[in-house]
């Protein structure tokens, strides 16, 4: 059976809420992500101070599908944490959908993170005590505070989109690795975020499942206009992204459109 069949058979847009998309349309001139002169150091003021990122400038427009590559220790994860608002830069400015993160307090950052950013990790990091459906509902539940039918429908729509309708009531711990990662993708899309950050999303999967997951992200990007930034070691996957940003020793050494994909597309 063709593992991609379910993706092609799905309607574009799925059950995503239309409000976020509309807002993004209106603000289409505003880049989804903008970094200006971002520095990050650890252990500031101690003998082991280490500067991990130096003057990072990076802009992602709405709907871009970019890869972030670089050798181990080049600062990819640090950069991803900064963009994901899980960490704060020491210098420079960071804008998510036009909002400057540096001016926000902890509470506002948490809200912005929940609303605008979706995470996909190398390891799925689903909550094992919950079913696939509940895991997808979780970001909406956290944001709205209490359960309602609308979020159940949205979550069911997203699970359908990743082809797991029949697995929706299985515990997250009872499904296969590839399925878990697809649930994680559905969860990342639950709040209809402007930006999805994926950290080695297929790093733990075999080639076939890696392709399924990757195709799924491309499909979401194409149909919903969600911006993706994918950290990967895998040159094969990087080549399938529209843009490749390379980070070496905390500096962006190359940032180029991937003409192969553009021409093919």
């Amino acid at each position: 059976m063709d593992p991609h069949a379910h993706i092609r058979s799905l309607p574009p847009g799925g059950a995503q809420a239309s409000l976020g998309a509309a807002q993004r349309e209106a603000a289409s001139s505003v880049p989804t992500l903008r970094l200006e002169g971002v520095d990050k150091s650890y252990g500031v003021g101690t003998p082991v101070e280490a500067e991990v990122l130096h003057g990072i400038d990076l802009t992602l427009q709405k709907g871009e599908f970019a890869a972030l590559i670089g050798p181990s220790g080049s600062g990819k994860s640090t950069l991803l944490n900064l963009i994901g608002l899980l960490d704060k830069p020491n210098a420079g400015h960071l804008y998510i959908t036009g909002e400057e993160a540096g001016t926000l307090d902890e509470m506002a950052l948490t809200k912005l993170r929940g609303r605008a950013i979706g995470f996909i990790f190398q390891y799925h990091h689903l909550l094992p005590a919950f079913t696939a459906l509940e895991n997808v509902m979780m970001p909406m539940l956290a944001a709205r505070g209490r359960l309602d039918d609308a979020m159940r429908e949205t979550a069911a729509g997203l699970l359908a989109r990743v082809g797991l309708t029949s697995w929706r009531d299985h515990k997250a711990s009872d499904i296969s690795g590839g399925q878990q990662q697809r649930v994680a993708i559905a969860r990342a899309l639950a709040m209809n975020p402007a930006l999805v950050l994926a950290d080695e999303p297929s790093g733990n999967l075999d080639t076939e499942n890696a392709d399924v997951v990757f195709d799924l992200m491309r499909d979401v990007n194409a149909t919903s206009g969600t911006t993706f930034l994918i950290v990967t070691h895998d040159p094969r996957l990087a080549r399938r992204c529209d843009r490749i940003v390379e980070l070496v020793d905390g500096r962006i050494t190359s940032d180029r459109p991937n003409l192969d994909v553009r021409q093919r597309g």
């Binding site: 948490t110 993170r113 990091h125 209490r146």
Partner: protein
């Protein structure tokens, strides 16, 4: 609004279900702790109430007496030259000075619910050859029964004692071989004798009282004890028996009178009770601490185990306060369910106790009153302890750095 549809509640309960063994163990621990506290408190309260009731059955909480008579030196101007031996003088039976006024004054003190004059003194009860020494108590039936519940203790006959009537205890009746309607001659040291008809027999459940106390009308006692128009003491009943000493203090302040409260006359009982209360409080504190530590340790482990999941929840936009509440809810739930189970346990033990703790004659040693408020307080207390115990782990969870937690 269904509280179980809230994010925090859903996550909290799922976390507890995930660690079901841990959750059950700690709930069982809390149940044992709460059960012990409830059982002990009920037992102690029952014991106290029982002793208090038995004592106050036949003793007024406050008794006002005439001040003791003291010998006075005739040569106060030259005390140094007087030989130092002063013999205490013997006490005569005397009336409380202006007892009607004292009675009216005391009745106005807040907390006082009954005041009655009493004439009391020693005498002998004789029937044929049998003779017994007794304490004659002259009572004013209009007010005496407000202070001492004598009518409830009458086991035969009636309580409306008239000028030629007497009420005696069940033991005395047995000793003298008397029943209601029989005549008995009462003699006093003053040499006055009177033949009275037994109209009632009481049982206070205390052998000494049943043997010695006899009740006659106030006027009868006044003439028998040669105290015409007088009252040797005034008995006072107060709403809160434990406030007796405070009220006694107020009465003492206003008069030159000797005022005894039952708290003073039963000092030994009160010190024993204070020790019991202290011991019970200490046990409560230590059991509470143990319960708190148990809940806290389970939750600390849970926070460590679930660090990654908490990190993910935070990355998905869960606020710190929400994470905090997830763990506080767990603490509160463990405390509350534990206490409910403990209350059930204590209830069963109390019922069992009722069956076991019996006097040789099969009657209850003492009645343990199962107060619903005790259960409510214990459950509320355990919930509070659970929340407080969860505070530290909950804060740790809320402060987890999501980036670090996810990386593990």
């Amino acid at each position: 609004m269904n509280p179980f549809a809230r994010f925090e509640t859903i996550v909290a309960f799922r976390f507890m279900r995930e660690g079901l063994t841990q959750t059950l163990l700690i709930v069982f621990g809390v149940a044992l702790g709460a059960g012990v506290i409830i059982f002990m408190s009920a037992l102690l309260a029952g014991l106290q109430a029982n002793v208090v009731r038995r004592t106050l059955n036949f003793q007024a909480p406050i008794e006002i007496l005439a001040p003791d008579q003291v010998p006075r030196s005739m040569r106060e101007d030259e005390p140094a030259r007087v030989a130092a031996q002063v013999q205490p003088r013997s006490q005569q039976l005397r009336s409380v000075d202006q007892w009607q006024k004292v009675r009216a004054d005391v009745a106005r003190i807040p907390g006082v619910i009954g005041v009655t004059p009493v004439v009391s003194g020693p005498g002998f009860a004789r029937r044929g050859e049998a003779i017994k020494s007794v304490t004659i108590t002259g009572i004013d039936i209009d007010s005496y029964f407000d202070v001492i519940a004598l009518p409830e203790k009458i086991v035969a006959g009636r309580d409306d004692v008239g000028p030629l009537d007497i009420i005696i205890g069940i033991e005395l009746a047995r000793d003298l071989g008397m029943a209601v309607g029989d005549k008995v001659t009462v003699t006093t040291a003053a040499g006055i004798a009177s033949t009275l008809t037994v109209i009632g027999i009481f049982d206070f459940g205390n052998k000494g009282v049943n043997e010695r106390n006899v009740y006659v009308a106030l006027r009868t006692a006044q003439s028998l004890l040669d105290l015409p128009g007088g009252a040797s003491s005034i008995a006072v009943k107060v709403h809160d028996p434990f406030a007796a000493e405070t009220i006694a203090e107020i009465i003492r302040g206003g008069n030159n009178l000797e005022v005894d409260s039952w708290i003073r006359t039963n000092a030994q009982f009160f010190s024993a009770m204070a020790a019991q209360i202290l011991a019970n409080t200490l046990i409560r504190i230590f059991v509470g601490l143990t319960v708190a530590l148990g809940i806290a340790s389970v939750l600390v482990v849970s926070v460590v185990q679930k660090a990654k999941e908490i990190g993910i929840l935070r990355a998905m936009g869960t606020a710190r306060a929400q994470v905090l509440r997830v763990f506080l809810i767990q603490g509160a739930f463990m405390g509350l369910t534990g206490a409910l189970a403990g209350a059930l346990l204590a209830w069963c033990f109390l019922l069992l106790w009722r069956g076991v703790a019996r006097a040789p004659d099969g009657s209850l040693l003492f009645v343990v009153v199962i107060e619903p408020s005790l259960f409510v307080i214990a459950c509320a207390g355990a919930t509070l302890v659970g929340i407080l115990a969860a505070a530290i782990p909950a804060r740790r969870a809320a402060r987890l750095d999501p980036a670090v937690a996810i990386r593990g």
